[in-house]
Symmetry: C3
Subunit: 143 residues, 3 copies
């Protein structure tokens, strides 16, 4: 028998310590799914921030540096952007435009359906800051 779907909201927090930094959120998110009894559905991972981003990729230390290097190269921190006249972080807003503020990941039997090399990555581009990551599960819940 198919269970009815339900909605559950929650959040995890990240304290970043540098201006540029990546944080692996996978364990915190999987802990939240377990605690809530999420079973089958989709998890929307969303940040209410404009100077950070969410991606899903491999948490290999060299690659994590490469990701930040690529974003700096494309968005030029301190460059002649108009937004830098009022706040010196245009690059971080632009990095969010390119990478995005959310990702939706399927959930099955309570687990994110991540591939072998995938981790959910928070990308800080204007830290250090206290950041929120909003989690919304829509799907079947364990009774």
């Amino acid at each position: 028998m198919a269970l009815a779907c339900r909605v559950m909201h929650g959040e995890v927090h990240v304290e970043t310590r540098s201006r540029f930094e990546t944080v692996d959120l996978t364990r915190a998110i999987e802990g939240w799914l377990r605690e809530k009894g999420a079973a089958n559905g989709v998890l929307t991972i969303y940040i209410p921030h404009t100077t950070a981003a969410i991606a899903v990729n491999e948490a290999e230390s060299g690659l994590l540096s490469d990701i930040l290097d690529l974003l700096k190269e494309l968005t030029r921190p301190g460059g002649g952007w108009r937004h830098n006249r009022i706040d010196n972080n245009a690059h971080a807003h632009l990095g969010n435009i390119l990478v995005g503020p959310s990702v939706s990941v399927p959930v099955r039997k309570g687990r994110l359906l991540l591939g072998t090399w995938q981790s959910v990555l928070f990308i800080e581009m204007d830290g250090p800051r206290r950041r929120r990551v909003l989690l919304t599960f829509v799907g079947e819940v364990e009774e």
Copy 2:
């Protein structure tokens, strides 16, 4: 008691007036959510277009220019792209590839869970055109 989830489809329209332009959709989308009685769930904001994009960021006028400048820099309007042999808008398709055609935003108590500085932005790269923005809410609805 948990309410059962439901699906509601709708759309808002945008008339762009320039080749490159950003339009803040936040109020129109929140108006739709209210009108429909959406309560808790996820809103998928999706454009059925290949030469525009959807982002979520700060609607500050300098930054909005910076976003368009960055996209022009990366995708080079009028550049030597193959698609420009048949239609002079390869840059706009490429901007859509980088930014994306959709975003999913959590909804709680009938409001988008946007951060303080977040607006939902329609990014026109091949206007002026009449554009559609498809809204699909999945979640609990007020009775």
Copy 3:
């Protein structure tokens, strides 16, 4: 009367034949929706891979080359990335960061609500490989 929502998981497979390649997934995905009796809701299309990406754009052959050319230009295959010291595919991971691993598309009366020029595109950046595309439908199902 509103039907209750349900969740359905599935997948389609892609065998890529080149290092860089795009594959149009639209027909395979629409076939899956029909087979499953999906009616109204949202389909999350998600790849459990870190060196490929998912986009929605026009399947015009010149443009498909342009997309791969842009990604190569921005991410420089064989470039001096740190990740290339352990695996020569940093560019493909970086392309995934820019384009993304998933897209959510509204479904109505069993069809993806794609625009006239939209196709769902799998973007291979480190092939040839056998790839999986995970499909999760949340919404109303035909009885």
